[in-house]
Amino acid sequence: MRVEGVKELSGGREVVWEVLNDPASMAKLMPGVESFEVTDDTHWSANVKVPLGLGGLKMKMNFEKTEEREPEFARLVAKGTGVGAIMNMDTAFTLTEAGSGTSMKWEADVKIAGPVGSMGQRVLQPIINQQVENVLTALEKQVSEAAAQ
């Protein structure tokens, strides 16, 4: 399934770029990160536990930055395993300057392979929307914090 949107952020483009490309601040954006490991410049991995009312959705995520044009565009591929299924996410963002702030156009294509993918079919879209919302809120917070420094 595909989700996309545009988010207006109050910090400058360099600041936003920095937040999005620093693995450490990246880790703070994602919900339920328990550990985060940087393999090299373009590869990271994380153990996450997406906190749901029914218990954590535990996944091991591997990230690979596949494309990068500083300070405006990056593409990231993530693969998650651990819930009896495989989650593949292909996500990209484009940053443009908008006055003193930044406009971020983002898109994500999420696929879940395995029987859980079908069980979660009717809940997948709302859950992804929720998580995206969380990520964007955290991003906004970090960007304004970084901009204020």
Partner: protein, 280 residues
């Protein structure tokens, strides 16, 4: 089948339950288990610790008072369906509870579990929104109440935070209100494809649609358009366009478009039922 390893405790007091829940953010309350155990069997979401609420007898009570109908979080669907307190105040709760899943599930499944799991197909979240219920949540900082409108945050996500417990659902006294519920289900009395709940009182309606988002959706425009006229033609007219305000998921049982359409059909049916039962 075949769950992951998990720890288990059955506290005998609310304080103890809160202490255990607060001590581990992987801890989750186990009520009737009719959703949670199932999810654990599929090894999708996995709590680290289960805090069984079966030892907390005070959560199984149904009572009526000035504030309305008070339903303990551990009240089962079977209790709801057979309670005379429910029947004389907001009978719709019993009528709907009697159509949830099947006898065995109703014997164990609870109102608290139903709303805290907040699966989009669950019956009670939209119903309690329509009935304008209030949820009582207890946590380390004490007790607080949250209206049904604010309680549901997303799929499997509610205002009950880690370390907290839902203890009670309070449904306002009927005061002449009539309530209705309609759903298209997979098979007779099966899982909801789209549901709608309505409550009509004093010439106004509260309408909530289920299965069209991560949370129940209030049909605010339709409520406004109704303006006190509950004739069938007016209700149908008011429902027009409700679908376009929704962004429902599509799945194997219904496309997004079909869900938009069903939302209108079910809203009409629920409102007509409710209006027919309201004391005018």
């Amino acid at each position: 089948m075949l769950l992951r390893e998990v720890e288990y405790a059955r506290p005998s007091s609310l304080e103890e339950a809160l202490r255990i829940l607060g001590g581990n953010d992987g801890a989750r309350a186990l009520a009737g288990g009719q959703t949670l155990i199932n999810v654990m069997k599929s090894r999708a979401a996995s709590p680290d610790v289960l805090v069984d609420l079966a030892g907390l007898g005070e959560l199984t009570k149904i009572s009526t008072g000035a504030g309305g109908l008070e339903l303990g979080a551990m009240v089962t669907y079977t209790q709801l369906a057979s309670s005379s307190e429910v029947d004389v105040t907001r009978p719709i709760l019993g009528v709907v509870a009697a159509t949830i899943a099947d006898v065995q599930v109703r014997n164990r499944g609870t109102i608290g579990g139903n709303i805290c799991s907040n699966d989009p197909t669950n019956h009670l979240p939209p119903l309690l929104v329509a009935l304008d219920a209030t949820m009582t949540i207890v946590g380390p900082g004490g007790e607080r109440t949250v209206s049904a409108d604010d309680f549901f945050l997303g799929v499997y996500m509610t205002a009950v935070a880690t370390g907290e417990l839902l203890t009670k659902v309070t449904v306002p006294p009927p005061g002449g209100a009539g309530d209705g519920f309609a759903a298209l289900t997979i098979g007779t009395d099966g899982t909801c494809i789209v549901s709608a709940a309505a409550s009509v009182a004093d010439g106004a309606a509260r309408i909530a649609i289920g299965c069209v988002s991560g949370t129940p959706v209030r049909a605010a425009e339709m409520e406004a358009k109704l303006g006190g006229d509950f004739g069938e033609a007016s209700v149908r007219e008011a429902a027009k366009g409700l679908g376009t305000t929704l962004d429902p998921p599509g799945d194997v049982h219904a496309s997004a478009d079909y869900r938009r359409h069903l939302a209108e059909v079910m809203a009409v049916r629920a409102v007509l039922q409710a209006a027919g039962r309201a004391r005018s």
